[in-house]
Subunit: 261 residues, 2 copies
DNA sequence: AACCCAAATTAGACAAGCCTAATTTAGTGG
DNA sequence: CCACTAAATTAGGCTTGTCTAATTTGGGTT
């Protein structure tokens, strides 16, 4: 309601300046050119010109050779950006389990571009996950640790742990290697050591992506698949790690539409 | 292994050009200046200079007055960016339930900035959520619809639905109004109509944030709280919608560290 | 062969952001 | 009161990424 209306109007860089100023004022009750320059690792000349641009937008007040003050509008905008920053960081850390330092860095970028709608959905999802009583986070931690530590163990994972905990029906899911040439499926889960998993992900084998089996070489080893328009050659152990969803897509077009209904 | 090494080296804009070129070649087997310009809604002169910069980086080949081709490196980078784009979009749509069009737009921004680590965590989380057998998505849809449609109904929600489904212990959770002046708590859930919910979120009342009750006015109505360093005045119905987590933080510093252990 | 047109290129301008180097200003100490 | 210093400002330069306007090029028409 009484919210900021300059969202998306000023640049990423200027938003960062606002944020810096807000935090400096919180910390030491005032913000000088020098402080801002040090904080953002830029020259004072750059800060000077940035302050002029911010003043022109009515977001800061800056008497010549004086300290920098935020206007009401500027403070609101700064707070809004900061709010997103902190929330996104918390989301990445608490839900996705991204390491703190990386989450902080990524939040710095996301804060500028995320649409209000996505922000709102993310808030609702966070709230749901942390309060739904299903202890999803603990389950996810188990899941994650399992795959992160899988490296030196037996490869196509058959642990009780895996079978019992993470959906028994995945124990009997179709694998990529179960397809006949020409058949397609949707990638659901990759059940392999961290190394192979990483390799497959890097090659574009991601959940929710449609794969088509093209050819299997005589001895069954190089397996050729088609994936989002380009061809890929996999070894058998890589291909058999790819578990597919039950539902086959009706047509390639409705891919993202029919998500998970 | 044989992956791109230009990540983070070229600008957001150039990455977008690469992506456009890749998609054009997929669609019509070649990419001319004009096509790229039309697709990205820029002038041909801009495309021309962009192609020169991309050629200098060894990402495209572009004989004068000829069509634009991707080098191997350029194609890999384009594919990588596109992969992220599509995956993030799917994540936003399928997990967070962001509307398709907005997810598409946000994915356009995120693709350029997301660190590999966050990408990887997101993939793992997506995989977990869609295959863990807990049917989290359906639960989340219920949760979401419940709050989205709450508008005209009785306000501090007491539905059976709510009590039973979304963690019975939240029926007896402390509210912000249960705190004594000076006491603090961590925001867990906001149980209010969409309008009030939105208002609180806009003011910075987000899950995982620490709030301190400062003062309650004589008649109990304007309630003053402190929140991430600034003060806020809430009406009683707003404040009582804020449910708190059980665990009180030991110290304000370890806030994000002690996330949810 | 001369002409025309669409695509591509070049030239030149502009804003945002950054820089370094030189200058101005204000406060502090001798 | 003068000199020194730290902070702030100005001047001028650079890159990226956009634009418009003019020009070149090459393939098809008449």
């Amino acid at each position: 309601m009484a919210e900021v209306n300059k969202v998306g109007v000023i640049s990423e860089s200027l938003e960062d300046y606002l944020e810096t100023i807000y935090l400096l004022i919180q910390k030491q009750r005032f913000a000088r050119m020098k402080d801002i320059a040090d904080d953002r690792n830029v020259s004072m000349a750059s800060v000077n010109s940035a302050m002029k641009r911010l003043a022109k937008e009515g977001l800061v007040e800056h008497a010549s050779r004086g300290i920098v003050l935020l206007t009401n509008e500027g403070e609101n905008l700064a707070r809004m950006v900061l709010r997103r920053h902190e929330f996104v960081r918390d989301f990445l850390v608490s839900v996705l389990r991204v390491p703190e330092a990386i989450a902080e860095k990524d939040a710095c970028s996301f804060e500028h571009f995320m649409s209000p709608e996505t922000f709102h959905r993310m808030v609702t999802f966070f709230e749901f996950i942390t309060t739904c009583g299903m202890d999803i986070q603990t389950h996810f931690d188990d899941y994650r640790k399992h795959y992160d530590n899988l490296e030196a163990r037996d490869n196509p994972c058959n642990h009780m742990h895996c079978r019992n905990r993470f959906g028994a029906h995945w124990a009997h899911a179709r694998r990529l290697t179960d397809l006949k040439p020409g058949e397609s499926g949707i990638v659901g889960r990759i059940r392999a050591s961290h190394r192979i998993r990483q390799r497959l992900i890097d090659m574009g084998v991601l959940p929710h992506v449609e794969v088509t089996l093209l050819r299997v070489a005589p001895l069954g080893d190089p397996i050729e698949i088609k994936l989002r328009g380009y061809n890929l050659s996999l070894r058998k152990d890589e291909a058999s790690a790819i578990l597919l969803h039950d539902d086959t897509p009706e047509s390639p077009e409705t891919d993202t539409e029919s998500a998970h209904e």
